[in-house]
Amino acid sequence: MKTLNDTVVLFGRSMRHIQRSPDTIITVAIMPIAMLLLFVYVLGGAIKTGSDSYVNYLLPGILLIAVATGISYTAVRIFGDTKEGIIARLHSMPVSRSAVLWGHVLTSLVSTALSLVVIFAVALLMGFRTSAGIGSWAAVAGILALFTLALTWLAVIPGLTASSIDGASAFAYPLIFLPFISSAFVPTDTMPGPVRFFAEHQPVTAIVGSIRNLFRDVPVGTDLWIALAWCVGGALIAYFFAMRVYRKVR
């Protein structure tokens, strides 16, 4: 119960940070929105996806880019708490250890979700349409939440160990780049062999494919199970290593 109470208190604290600098939400959303505009209105016309609307095709990948951007701020917030001695202060108090991290993890989930809502609104203005029912919407939200959770636990590691603020956020760049080498922007069939192999076997393709099909309200097939396996497996592995690093911080 103490853990729950402490988590709620610390979650409230870091949500107040977000509320005081809402630019975090906007900054996370702005680059993915710029890409959405660039690809839909400039490059998209030349890309053959087999889909009737490129914005419908592209949006899932853009959402994943936003998640990867959002969690770099989580790493920065944890880094700040470590450097400013706030983690040490909390650890010298009768405060649940795991609550110190869970407060940040919940904040990461909520603030990322807010950024995604902003991007959704822009995509709707750009002509994004979906025939998804409540069940499919819930499934999309669930996949995005799991993906955010997995990347957040990964972000905890540089947050606790980085020696500079740049180091704390730089680990996210490869994650932001990952959707480019997947089916997020273009179908994989025109890619050369090894690239195509990588693209088809990395998590983004399965996740993007699942979300796309959920939005079109067509059967998702095995993609969904592969996507869930990546998200749940990734979250568990990242959690394990993050806790291992955290236990060394006394």
Binding site: V9, G85, M93
Partner: protein
């Protein structure tokens, strides 16, 4: 005689090849202000970190209020409070919110009222609703110490509480610490300033190269030196006294040079 509130014996700690603590023994009684005096790198912060359950020693034992800092860390944490070398306050929150945060985490009843009372006690009532980022160094430190008092811990560790403060901020913090000890709280403070130890501490230990080389009251330490000689010299005001009197700072009388050691400082018209 009761059991000591803080007791350390044979404490050793090395970071890689560097030995920081080389067998430290120490006892602090309840209600004492105890100063751990030493230069940079003497091992002061390491000692405090071990006592505050933030660091594990290589050998030896440390206990606070009878509880071992490694075996019974949770019980120790319920009884202590740490004000680290650098103010650990949330700069985005207001002073009031910082205090409420700690009160909620310590499960203190009525956090808002506790925060109000501490802000008043530390002359921060007006600043309470402002973000800590706008505070001066002295104000931030006062808030930091106020946060340590939430829930009335039995023992307070102050690691170099006045390092980096201007003379006025330093006096403010000194007055705060003196008031603490009056309330029966045990205070272990570390400092590299001799006058600070002289002003505040009931007992002083000098930590040098990982060992306590002398320990005792100021009077006892003075006996270690040859008896005082009497010389008559004209007393010039120190620059600190001039500075404080020119700016008309409250508490200027508590300046180290202006008051004989050990006597309580006279502060303002209170």
């Amino acid at each position: 005689m009761n059991a000591p509130t803080i007791s350390i014996s044979g404490l050793r700690k090395a970071f890689g090849e560097t030995t920081v603590l080389d067998g430290v023994d120490l006892e602090v009684q309840r209600g004492e202000i105890f100063a751990l005096l030493g230069s940079n790198g003497a091992g002061k912060t390491t000692t405090v970190s071990i006592l505050a359950t933030l660091l594990l020693q290589d050998a030896g034992t440390a206990a606070v209020c009878g509880f071992d800092t490694t075996q019974d860390a949770d019980r120790v944490r319920e009884r202590i409070s740490l004000t680290g070398q650098f103010a650990a306050v949330d700069k985005i929150l207001t002073g009031h919110e910082n205090l409420v945060l700690i009160a909620k985490l310590r499960s203190v009843p009525d956090p808002g009222q506790v925060a109000d009372r501490l802000l008043e006690q530390f002359a921060l009532t007006d600043a309470g609703s402002k973000r800590v980022a706008t505070y001066s160094g002295g104000m931030t430190r006062r808030l930091d110490i106020a946060m340590s008092l939430v829930g009335s811990p039995e023992v307070i560790f102050l690691d170099e509480p006045t390092t980096g403060l201007d003379p006025q901020g330093r006096l403010e913090v000194w007055l705060t610490i003196k008031a603490l000890a009056g309330g029966g709280t045990t205070v272990l403070l570390t400092t590299q300033y001799l006058d600070e130890a002289e002003q505040l501490a009931d007992r002083i230990a000098i930590l040098h190269q990982g060992r306590i080389i002398v320990e005792g009251t100021l009077a006892e330490l003075k006996k270690l030196l040859p008896p005082a000689k009497k010389e008559y010299i004209e007393k010039q005001p120190t620059l600190e006294e001039i500075f404080l009197s020119v700016i008309g700072a409250p508490g200027a009388g508590a300046s180290a040079a202006a008051t004989p050691a050990g006597t309580p400082a006279e502060v303002g018209p209170e």
